[in-house]
């Protein structure tokens, strides 16, 4: 398959198509009649999928460096260039967002009835922004895409959201922006320092990485600037309060994009920018302990709080905070297993939480409420939805054999060496996550149907099944056969660990020596 693709010239132009197509689609959608907006959006989404899915085979997992690289200078004066590339860390996230796009467009087929053109145009902009963040290897381009995402997300939550959507939208934007404006300062500072000493002013990732040594004296505050921006996005424990509001108020498409891709930009940022640039400070004993402890607090705290949420979407939002806590723990576990585990949790969280939000969206389209108490006993009248929800619920709490377990297991076993007590504490979440998930599933599906309004709910129609079934198949496939995914990320993970190895303080437990 790989050679077939290279035979038809499947190289770096793919990224330009993936980024450019949605942008071109925006005017097309805006100026088309309302009825056809959806179809154009879906058409573009499908082409994105077809073009993007080729990456799965075309990406050569044996090489660990950047692939599909393009480097066109854009603003000579400041060394800003349109530099894009994909490597082990970002290939899975690009594929996930490419797969999610058609599902997102299809899931809001019925849900969105007013101002459709605006909605689909925003989805296109959102998609470019998402892809841009993962493929950009130029820090300026990265920051541009990073901020570009806020606008469509703000309008999506602000216009198509539910009750107090404006509060949630503004909170989302301000929270993220306050976090990330320091990052811009840090980026410029870095480029200036490097330019001063080496004479080369360039925002290229490779250039800054090679000269990371020069940034050591300012390592502390530069890392904190990056870390703050990414921590808000992850969301790490104290900065997470925007997520439940944003999720509750966002329309289905917004929630899914937010959960599946936007949250991963924070963790991706840590792996790609924050730690490699300032390894001395980032991986010092104290910073490591602080970040790992915050991650574990986030895991347990969010799981506990999720147990008492009356609103279904808020519950899933808090569960996302808990899952992302795993990713952070994995990153700071700093072993190849924990980093690969972190990437696996990013992917599998995308699948399971994405599916959960789709289903909640479908319920919302039928009953226009997210309160758990309004539902009850749906299993009898919507068996397919109930089965899908139960499977996704169990994948989300990490049942072995489904996708959740692979990532969480690798994160925990990988980080156990460095933080045995924290991993011990984090593993207790296994009980709490089962608690909140089963408790909510039972209250929505598995009890007596008392509310007459629920009688009329129809089961999943064909369109909705087409959105959910591929995700469930993916969950079972990733759960039982994650080898291809692991193969693709292993190159980048090994390179990442070799890069930070010299700086790593000694872990708590000695490394296990190899024997089968």
């Amino acid at each position: 398959m790989a050679d077939f693709l290279s035979s038809i010239g499947y190289e770096h132009w793919v990224i330009h198509v993936l980024l450019g197509l949605p942008i071109l689609a925006i005017p097309a959608i805006l100026f088309s009649p309302v009825k056809s907006a959806r179809y154009i959006a879906f058409g573009v989404a499908l082409t994105e999928l077809v073009v993007g899915i080729g990456l799965w085979w075309a990406y050569d997992s044996s090489r660990s460096g950047m692939q599909f690289v393009t480097d066109i200078s854009w603003v000579q004066g400041f060394g800003i260039g349109y530099r894009v590339g994909i490597d082990g860390l970002s290939v899975l996230m690009v594929l996930l967002s490419v797969i999610m796009l058609p599902l997102v467009v299809w899931s809001s087929w019925r849900g969105i009835d007013q101002k459709q053109r605006g909605f689909y145009a925003l989805i296109m902009a959102l998609n470019t922004g998402m892809l841009g963040v993962f493929v950009a290897t130029d820090l300026f381009l990265f920051y541009m895409f990073w901020e570009m995402l806020l606008i469509p997300m703000y309008f999506m939550i602000g216009i198509w959201g539910s009750a107090n959507r404006l509060y949630a939208a503004t909170k989302f934007v301000i929270y993220t922006f306050v976090g990330s404006f320091m990052m811009l300062v840090a980026i410029i500072w870095m480029v200036a320092v490097v330019a001063k000493t080496t004479g080369v002013t360039s925002f290229a990732y490779s250039n800054l990485l090679d000269h990371a040594e020069l940034l050591r004296p300012w390592g502390a505050w530069l890392f904190t600037a990056f870390a703050l921006a990414f921590a808000v996005k992850v969301p790490l424990f104290p900065f997470h309060t925007w997520l439940p509001d944003a999720h509750t108020e966002a329309p289905t498409a917004g929630s899914v994009d937010l959960a599946v891709i936007l949250l991963k930009m924070g963790t991706y940022g840590f792996l790609r920018f924050a730690i490699p640039f300032f390894p001395m400070f980032a991986l010092s004993k104290t910073t490591g302990m602080v970040m790992a402890t915050l991650a574990v607090i986030g895991i347990i705290y969010a799981a506990l709080v999720a147990m008492v949420q009356p609103d279904l979407k808020r519950l899933i939002a808090y569960s996302s905070v808990s899952h992302l806590g795993f990713v952070m723990l994995g990153i700071w576990g700093s072993t190849v297993e924990s980093v690969q585990g972190a990437i696996m949790v990013m992917v599998s969280h995308g699948l399971s939480t994405g599916a959960l939000f789709f289903m909640i969206g479908m319920l919302y389209e039928r009953r226009h409420t997210r309160k758990i108490t309004d539902y009850g006993g749906l299993a009898r009248i919507t068996p397919m939805l109930a089965t899908a929800f139960v499977i996704t619920a169990f994948s989300s709490i990490g049942l072995p054999g489904l996708n959740g377990f692979v990532g969480e297991f690798l994160v925990l076993i990988g980080s156990f060496g460095r933080y045995p007590w924290l991993v011990g504490a984090a593993s207790t979440v296994v009980v709490f996550s089962a608690g909140y998930m089963l408790w909510s599933t039972q209250r929505v599906f598995f009890n007596r149907l008392t509310n007459p309004l629920n009688e009329g709910i129809g089961d999943l129609n064909l369109r909705e099944l087409a959105v959910i079934v591929p995700l469930i198949v993916a969950m079972i496939w990733v759960g039982l056969y994650p080898a291809p995914l692991l193969k693709r990320t292993s190159g980048a993970a090994h390179a990442y660990i070799e890069m930070i190895q010299p700086v790593l303080p000694k872990p708590a437990l000695a490394d296990p020596e190899v024997h089968r």
Binding site: K171, P238, T241, Y301, L304, V305, M307, V308, Q309, V336, E337, Q340, G341, G377, A379, R380, P383, M384, T387, V390, F394, L399, P400, G401, F405, V406, F409, L410, L412, I413, G414, F416, G417, G424, S427, T428, V430, V431, A434, G435, L438, W439, Q442, F446, N447, R448, L480, Y481, P482, A483, L486, K487, S490, L509, D511, P512, E513, V514, H515, R516
Partner: protein, 656 residues
């Protein structure tokens, strides 16, 4: 054939998928569902038999069948989805597919009138898949798939009639208790991998001996965490509370999951990782003590229960205690032996109870009475209406009480003997032996009480329902008969030498626990004189229990639950199962709920971070704005003064 062992897993999986599809498409196609359901089990049993036969002839003790590379992460952590076929797993394979198959057959009759028939069989087949994966797993993570998978299926099956809140709550409670146990297994896995570098059972066996010195902390930690997992799954002292509530599920489910297969997973895991336990003698003692305590404690509660399934549930918890006692005294073979015999007679008892409940439900339904078909106080004198069920349950009662010719006697006696023998090394084992003996006495007592209340005396369920009582159909009593035969013949598997047997099972399982036994002193021989007295003592306990139970129950007046007197004193304590559930609820569940609602959500999240953090900065900005506006107050004089202050300041700085 051994290389095709995965067929045994594939057939039930196919069965589950087909039945699930039928459940969605044509839930009423009952015959198709039962053919698929039971047929798949028969096929799996055939594969198990073939594998067992081939393993008997083959010189090699254990095979590893690798299906695919599950998690090839790095060279030091590369987990394959591999099955390990050795003497232990082949025996378990036979038990699971055999007893499971019989229970599937029984369910065809029992669940016939249930609308969720196809869904039920889909869950049941899925359960068998996960149980087989658990037993066949070659490494801890693969077994862990089965371990949590059976937890999932027990959740689904207990909460099968989800319309009733109590059932789904029981399901959730079962899953959460298991999850607490799974937490233990997870931590054990991490400890093993970080200290030994491997997660395969054979690897653990080999590296364990090499890396860990006997009695050091690491094997003790690993063993204790593993045992935490076992208590969760096999319902031992701290985490047994879910099993009695799990009776909310259909009776065949109770028979399959909560008697024969799932609950024995804990014992299986201990035997599978025997090397770890033998390296930590303290852990062995903990296992033995917890086992003995659970046996005694559960038996006491069983004395005063009126729901037939609750009695059997506490009896299961008690018998599991026996198995852990056996394993705790490094008599692994006798532990497994008791597991097998218990699977037979407990499945028989549960299915018998199922027939009784089925008949009672049928009768009460016709009489439109709302009496509880499971409450023994509504039964009585059923031996005339259901002679076959009475006879078969009688055999099972004799077996469980430990009356000689039946299987129960041999397995229970071996465990008590091992405990007594081990006593000479460490006095704690004498205590365990005493608890075990007392539990044996009580087991005999409550079983004969159960039989007396159900089958003897006069029928208390009201005249109208009396004539509708009739024997269960053949499809239900058939499996009972087979199980009865197994109960009678079960003892032959491991007939001890004093009874002329060759204790075949002990030799059969020797290679599995060979490495473990090397690290521990062999159980000291008890003089033959003492041995006979022990056996006599056990028989006496069994007989007195049986007779006492029968006499006391038939003599005391049994009244239907509506006007039954309030339980008083010690009996109420037993009836309310020492209020353990209420204590757990108040000590653990309520505080966590309070913590997560009041402390975490409302205070930390909503108040501290949102109100103070986010809201606070907003108010700060607003305040600064207000301060600024105060400067424009319209007073010209104020402006001039400010102007002058500015000018003077500038001047001073310049001039100086």
């Amino acid at each position: 054939m051994i290389q095709l062992v995965w067929l045994a897993v594939l057939f039930p999986l196919l069965g589950a998928v087909i039945n699930a599809a039928l459940a969605f498409r044509r839930p009423m196609a009952k015959t198709a569902v039962s053919i698929v359901g039971v047929g798949v089990m028969a096929a799996a049993f055939a594969v198990a038999l073939a594998v067992f036969r081939e393993l008997q002839q083959s010189p090699v003790a254990s095979y590893s069948v690798v299906l695919w590379h599950w998690m090839p992460v790095t060279d030091r952590l590369s987990i394959d989805l591999a099955f390990q076929v050795d003497h232990l797993s082949s025996v378990m394979l036979l038990v699971i597919t055999g007893v499971g198959g019989l229970i599937h057959l029984f369910s065809v009759g029992y669940m016939r009138s249930d609308p969720g028939y196809a869904r039920y069989f889909a869950y049941l087949n899925l359960f068998i898949v996960f149980m087989l994966v658990l037993v066949l797993g070659a490494s801890l993570p693969v077994s862990f798939i089965g371990w949590e998978g059976v937890g999932l299926c027990s959740y689904l099956l207990i909460g099968f009639w989800y319309e009733v809140d109590a059932n789904s709550n029981a399901g959730k409670k079962a899953f959460l208790a298991n999850r607490i146990g799974d937490f233990g297994v997870l931590i054990a896995m991490f400890l093993i991998w970080w200290s030994l570098g491997t997660l395969d059972f054979t690897g653990i066996m080999m590296q364990g001996g090499a890396h860990w010195s006997r009695g050091s902390t690491m094997p003790l930690l690993v063993a204790l965490f593993l045992f935490l997992g076992c208590t969760g799954k096999s319902a031992q002292i701290p985490l047994y509370v879910w099993l009695p509530d799990a009776m909310a599920g259909p009776t065949p489910v109770s028979a399959l999951i909560h008697a024969a297969t799932m609950v024995t997973a804990g014992v299986f895991l201990v035997v599978r990782t025997a090397a770890v336990f033998t390296l930590a003698p303290v852990a062995l003692e903990v296992v033995a003590v917890v086992g003995a305590l659970t046996a005694f404690f559960a038996a006491t509660i069983g004395l005063r229960q009126y729901d037939i399934k609750k009695v059997l549930a506490y009896s299961t918890v008690s018998q599991l205690g026996y198995m852990f006692l056996g394993v705790g005294t490094t008599a692994f073979a006798s532990g497994i032996f008791h597991l097998i015999t218990h699977a037979f007679f407990k499945a028989l008892l549960f299915l018998g109870a199922g027939s009784v409940i089925h008949a009672m439900h049928h009768a009460l339904h016709h009489a439109h009475s709302h009496a509880d078909p499971q409450d023994m106080r509504n039964m009585g004198g059923l031996r005339r209406a259901m002679p076959w069920t009475f006879a078969l349950m009688g055999i099972a009662t004799l077996a469980i009480a430990g009356v000689p010719p039946f299987a129960g006697f041999f397995s229970k006696d071996e465990i008590l003997g091992a405990a007594f023998a081990r006593g000479s090394e460490h006095p704690i084992y004498y205590v365990c032996w005493a608890l075990g003996l007392a539990a044996a006495l009580m087991t005999a007592f409550y079983m004969s009480r159960l039989v007396a209340m159900t089958f003897f005396g006069k029928y208390r369920g009201g005249e109208k329902s009396a004539e509708h009582l009739h024997e269960a159909p053949w499809v239900m009593t058939g499996p009972l008969v087979i199980l009865a035969i197994l109960t009678i013949g079960g003892g032959l598997i491991n007939l001890p030498h004093f009874a002329g047997g060759s204790s075949w099972l002990e030799h059969w399982l020797a290679p599995v626990v060979q490495v473990a036994m090397m690290m521990v002193t062999p159980t000291p021989e008890i003089p033959s004189g003492m041995e006979t007295t022990l056996i006599a003592l056990a028989i006496v306990a069994a007989v007195t229990g049986l007779v006492g139970g029968y006499v006391l129950t038939t003599r005391s007046s049994i009244v239907t639950p509506e006007h039954a007197p309030e339980e008083r004193g010690i009996w109420s304590l037993l009836y309310h199962k020492y209020y353990v559930d209420e204590v757990y609820h108040r000590l653990i569940v309520d505080p966590t709920m309070w913590l997560s609602r009041r402390a975490l959500w409302q205070t930390v999240d909503a108040f501290l971070i949102d109100r103070i953090g986010v809201g606070g900065t907003a108010r700060l900005a607003e305040g600064l704005g207000w301060l600024g506006s105060r400067l424009q107050n319209g007073q010209v004089a104020f402006y001039v003064t400010m102007f002058a202050v500015g000018a003077v300041l500038i001047l001073r700085t310049l001039v100086r």
